[in-house]
Symmetry: C2
Subunit: 231 residues, 2 copies
Amino acid sequence: MKRAVVLLSGGLDSATVLGFVCHEGFEIIALTFRYGQRHAVEIARAQDLALKWGVFAHLIVDIPDSLFAASALIAANRVEVPPGEEHSAKSPIPITYVPARNMLFLSYGVACAESYDAEAVFIGANVLDYSGYPDCRGEFLEAFEKAAGLGTKCGVEGKPIRIIAPLLHLTKAEIIRMGASLGVDYSLTHSCYSPDEEGRACGRCDSCRIRRKGFEEAGIQDPTLYAGIEK
Amino acid sequence: MKRAVVLLSGGLDSATVLGFVCHEGFEIIALTFRYGQRHAVEIARAQDLALKWGVFAHLIVDIPDSLFAASALIAANRVEVPPGEEHSAKSPIPITYVPARNMLFLSYGVACAESYDAEAVFIGANVLDYSGYPDCRGEFLEAFEKAAGLGTKCGVEGKPIRIIAPLLHLTKAEIIRMGASLGVDYSLTHSCYSPDEEGRACGRCDSCRIRRKGFEEAGIQDPTLYAGIEK
């Protein structure tokens, strides 16, 4: 049986990728990261999703949050995520950017793939509805794949690990339609960067706004309970 | 003051790099990894070295050893490191190869560098006296640096983090001479892949043999106590 690593955050995009890779007939090793993110509730969602889809193995990796200074997405940094506007006047890259995050996650993915004979690492990166993160772009993913081919035994021996981002050029609405057709249960996913203490989505941060708009445009009912926002 | 990240294993090469980067006038953040390696004694050596050279910060990162199946260098895998011959007939890459290790370590380095405004990540990779690891080659390091430039905020904004391997084309004897001239205390370093319970070097594994030969060729006294080998 062919095998793949799936980077599974517990968000909408990676849940869709998980459904897609399952339907493609891969045996799956899911990788989730605990890195001090404000929305650590997404890790429990990743566990629910991994269980639901019957993955072969699910590895949850701890990354010290002290590695990521300055990012507003790291709870310990105490930088607030402003509702609906994460961009400063100085940069098109939002303050929720986490330094080299996808590079680090993909490196774990490649190490895991080579260790367990998986042929590809799947990631839910997306350039359209994303929020300006440089490490979600195709040119980064291609350069990373090339580096992984040169820096691994399997790559040197002619079987490089592929980095696949099946959602890269889809809109959020297209992603949601695709997931719905695959049977992805979006009530098990979490997108909000500023959840309340009970883990409920705020409905107002960039991530929530993109999610809500996606469901609207897809014409599909959003199963999310947003704190303080009436349906 | 200019700042750099140094990947510090506690071995001979990274100790030399640490001395070199100190002499170049950088403020240093040292990064060390605990990944289930047989020779975890090297982590204590890295701490000694970091203290000796007065680094600005020293971060020790835990990586789950379950990530690295099959490698003989991971203690939990119970694959023996054969004395003096780590290569199988099937591959020029030794059984002590650890999947995507330098890619993962360098990704941590880039995340740390971007978080703490360091301009470069220094690594003790070397292609001459090394043992056939694909992730120690210049072509991998260049491809990785390119990917890091495309996948980080600082790279997109015109200040990419450089990946620098100052020992890349030096022989072990040249490295040792360089370190000696910089005041590197090699008695604080550890190279052996198969140390005994007290952390003493075996003197016979590939790593020990390369080290011993290096000191001989450099004409410098090797301060290492090898278990069972007379001086």
